[in-house]
């Protein structure tokens, strides 16, 4: 299991997030690339954030990832 997989699982493990967005963490045991294709917009967003930001603290990179996630969530949460 990679560090990114571990981070994803720790974030998705939050019971409040699971309750709000109706998913079960155990469904994403296989790893981050399974989560990124999830139908659940929030699960996929967490995976996208971890993969796309890739630990960068560069402000322009942060803005780029934010725009991707903001647009993705707007589209998906509306559906």
């Amino acid at each position: 299991m990679t560090q990114k997989d571990k981070m994803l699982q720790m974030v998705l493990d939050d019971p409040r997030l699971q309750e709000f967005y109706e998913y079960t963490r155990k469904d994403y045991d296989e790893g981050i690339y399974e989560a990124i294709n999830s139908d659940n917009a929030v699960v996929a967003s967490v995976a996208k954030i971890i993969i796309e930001l890739n630990g960068s603290d560069d402000p322009s990179e942060q803005k780029r990832v934010y725009q991707t996630i903001f647009k993705y969530l707007n589209d998906k949460l509306l559906a």
């Binding site: 560090q3 571990k6 981070m7 720790m10 974030v11 998705l12 493990d13 939050d14 409040r16 997030l17 709000f20 967005y21 917009a41 929030v42 967003s45 967490v46 954030i49 971890i50 930001l53 630990g55 960068s56 603290d57 942060q62 990832v65 934010y66 996630i69 903001f70 969530l73 707007n74 949460l77 509306l78």
Partner: protein, 719 residues
């Protein structure tokens, strides 16, 4: 990283060159006081020092013996080097400087160098100065070196200051990996909220409601922030008073009375917790879960039985009457059928079928002798008669009179069945009063026990305060004053803890309200872009909260793992002498403490130094083990005299265990030295032989004059 060799030249008492090959497991370097143990340790520290600006030549490092031998204008080098293997390749790090004796006998230093030689196949790459420092730091990070070198028994506690735990966790767990994500999520939350606010401002229809909710949200957020600040202060306050009380306890560690009182307190509190757990006062749930609601049901059941009985009787009465009526109908029907079988002349079959058909064909009634054209009354009459006759042929068989049942459903039976079930359970229902009475009595009894335990706890705490206040030589007034102080600290700690609990509850309450406002906010103008942004903003905020809680969880998991491995080593190093365990306590101010807990669950304040040393060393071994696993890179542990307080037997066991741990450990010690009849230190070869380690003896060359450093020279000999 595995150290292969350490070579020291002209470094203080290490005259000319001394070389020590280091084993992969335990290496023991044994020397008496003043033989150069600490100098060896400091030589390694000097070599490892890459912090700050190079060079670092210093006259204090130069061997006085070597200086005394130098001729005018003659030079030599102070040199400390270490050969080690990292990432499969052998490297040599060396720090050195030249020293020269001038004509007037002054010593000057020059040519400071710091070099790293990297063996690459047959080639040797050399890095010098800052580059060497950078490469060495990469091989052996300064953050890890902090947990590698330990001088003396008193410096083993790595949680010795408030920042220590944060540093340890940040260095060895993956907690830092979260930082860029948390910073990103904080920014994302702010950007998303700004986008939402802008969209709401543009949505004129809902802007006033949105503004109202936004103001409520801001108010709740501010209130939660203030409560959290106060909570943090109160928690720190509780810790401060707790620390004051603990310090007092440490001073009284020899008091058996205090030990007894502490043990009594632990036992009383455990009992109280146990009884509190056993209390079952969820009477509302028990009304349904344990069917207590049926408590007064017996008279209702009897009334029910009477009613069902009456209903049954009435039904049977009606059924009987109905049956009689149906029976009469059947008799009449039978008579009718009998009559229809020819007892009445000229019935339906006269005239016969052929005659009837003939008359109909000819449209003439031969019975009454008149014309019967189609459609006329006589024609229709004849036709009806024929049809009746034909129909009568089809119903030759006797037909049962169709009887509709009076009661279509078996409700009365069902009611009886229910009564029967009720009757079977009646025994249980009759006993319910008893059960409820017993349950309530038991709970009341438990409350009495809790009250009595609370009172005993209060008394034991009072006694503890008195013990803590007692100090030799205090006058009665001073004793009263000390007692009052302690009582105040005690009260202040309890008040701070109570206030913290209250604030915790308040924060939870406000957080729920805040969540409610945020949900309302996301629902205004549902189909507008403002609502869409609001939903997204809410999701981003929740994801941020999950990252924050993941980071906290990661930290606790690391500490739990550290505690578990520490206890594995603690059990090994104490070989069954100690059956308690070590616990890492995380304090609200982010600091930590490692403490010893006895088998009965009480904290040990008066642990002997040897036990504390094994605890601290276990923690160091645990840190090293976890680091090896997480960084996929091992590193050595180097101790200078870590076991001063150990008995000889304890030392043998201790070194024996460390030799068995698969970990490169270098210990510089005066263990295994015994005094002979003349007062000289000699090695206890028998005891030493039992330890599986690389062993060296360091010793001052004799004769020497303790007051003249130029006569001091340390020899290193393998044992």
């Amino acid at each position: 990283m595995i150290i292969k060799n350490i070579t020291i030249g002209n470094f203080r008492s290490y005259y000319k060159e001394s070389s020590i090959d280091i084993g992969n497991g335990l290496t023991l370097i044994i020397g008496s006081n003043g033989d150069g143990k600490t100098t060896l340790f400091e030589a390694v520290e000097w070599l490892f020092d890459t912090v700050g600006s190079l060079p670092k030549a210093d006259n204090k490092y130069i061997s006085k013996k070597r200086i005394s031998e130098l001729m005018d204008s003659e030079s030599d080098y102070v040199r400390v080097s270490m050969t080690y293997v990292n990432d499969g390749s052998e490297r040599l790090i060396q720090k050195s400087f030249k020293f020269t004796k001038s004509l007037d006998g002054e010593i000057s230093t020059s040519n400071f160098s710091y070099d790293l030689y990297i063996q690459q196949g047959v080639e040797k790459d050399v890095k010098s100065g800052e580059a060497a420092a950078r490469y060495f730091d990469r091989d052996f990070a300064p953050s890890i070196r902090k947990y590698c070198l330990f001088k003396g028994e008193q410096n083993l506690n790595i949680f010795n200051n408030d920042e220590a735990m944060s540093y340890l966790v940040e260095t060895f767990s993956q907690i830092r990996d979260f930082d860029p994500y948390l910073s990103f999520m904080e920014n994302a939350k702010a950007w998303a909220e700004k986008a939402t606010d802008n969209a709401i401002r543009a949505d004129r229809k809902n802007s006033s409601e949105a503004q109202r909710l936004r103001s409520l949200i801001t108010g709740e957020e501010r209130q939660i922030g203030e409560l959290e600040t106060e909570l943090q202060n109160k928690r720190n306050e509780a810790i401060n008073f707790q620390t004051l009380l603990e310090d007092l306890e440490k001073n009284k560690e020899a008091s058996s009375l205090l030990v007894d009182t502490n043990s009594r307190l632990v036992s009383l509190k455990t009992q109280k917790e146990q009884v509190q757990k056993e209390l079952n006062e969820n009477y509302t749930f028990r009304l349904l879960d344990d069917m207590w609601i049926l408590m007064g049901y017996e008279p209702i059941a009897e009334e029910y039985r009477d009613l069902v009985g009456r209903l049954d009787k009435e039904q049977r009465k009606q059924q009987s009457k109905y049956d009689q009526e149906v029976g009469a109908k059947k008799v009449i029907a039978q008579i009718n059928r009998d009559l229809s079988h020819g007892h009445v002349p000229l019935a339906i079959n006269i005239p016969d079928e052929n005659t009837m058909r003939e008359m109909l064909d000819e449209e003439f009634c031969k019975i009454c002798g008149r014309e019967a054209p189609k459609g006329s009354e006589p024609y229709l009459f004849m036709q009806k008669r024929l049809n009746e006759y034909l129909a009568s042929l089809e119903s030759e068989e006797e037909k049962e009179v169709e009887v509709e049942p009076l009661f279509k459903f078996a409700f009365i039976k069902e009611l009886y069945d229910r009564y029967s079930i009720l009757h079977n359970n009646m025994k249980f229902l009759n006993r319910l009063n008893g059960y409820i009475d017993t349950a309530i009595r038991e709970n009341l009894k438990k409350h009495d026990t809790i009250d009595s335990l609370s009172s005993n706890i209060e008394q034991a705490e009072e006694k503890k305060k008195q013990i803590l206040a007692q100090t030799d030589g205090l006058s009665e007034d001073e004793l009263v004053s000390a007692y009052n102080n302690i009582s105040e600290w005690w009260k202040a700690r309890s008040d701070a803890e109570r206030r913290s609990d209250f604030l915790d509850a308040q924060i939870k309450k406000h957080s729920d309200t805040l969540e409610d406002y945020r949900t309302q906010f996301s629902k205004i103008s549902e189909d507008s872009s403002a609502a869409m942004y609001s939903r997204t903003s809410q999701a981003i905020r929740r994801i941020l909260d999950s990252f924050v809680s993941a980071k906290k969880k990661n930290k606790r998991e690391f500490l739990d793992q550290l505690e578990e491995v520490t206890n594995d080593y603690l059990a090994l190093l104490n070989k069954g002498d100690f059956r308690g365990y070590a616990q890492i306590i995380e304090k609200p101010n982010s600091s930590a403490e490692i403490i010893l807990i006895d088998t009965d669950g009480s904290r040990i304040y008066n642990a002997n130094t040897a036990l504390k040393t094994t605890m601290y060393m276990s923690l160091l071994f645990a840190v090293a083990k976890l680091t090896t696993v997480k960084h996929e890179n091992d590193y050595p542990l180097i101790f200078d005299a870590p076991t001063s307080s150990f008995t000889a037997a304890k030392e043998s066991d201790f070194f024996g265990v460390i030799a068995g741990i698969n970990k490169q450990t270098i210990i510089v010690t005066k263990s295994f030295l015994v005094e002979d009849a003349k007062g000289n230190s000699t090695l206890d070869i028998k005891r030493l032989g039992e330890i599986d380690a690389k062993k060296y003896r360091i010793e001052k060359a004799r004769p020497f004059d303790e007051k003249d450093l130029s006569t001091i020279q340390t020899y290193v000999e393998p044992i």
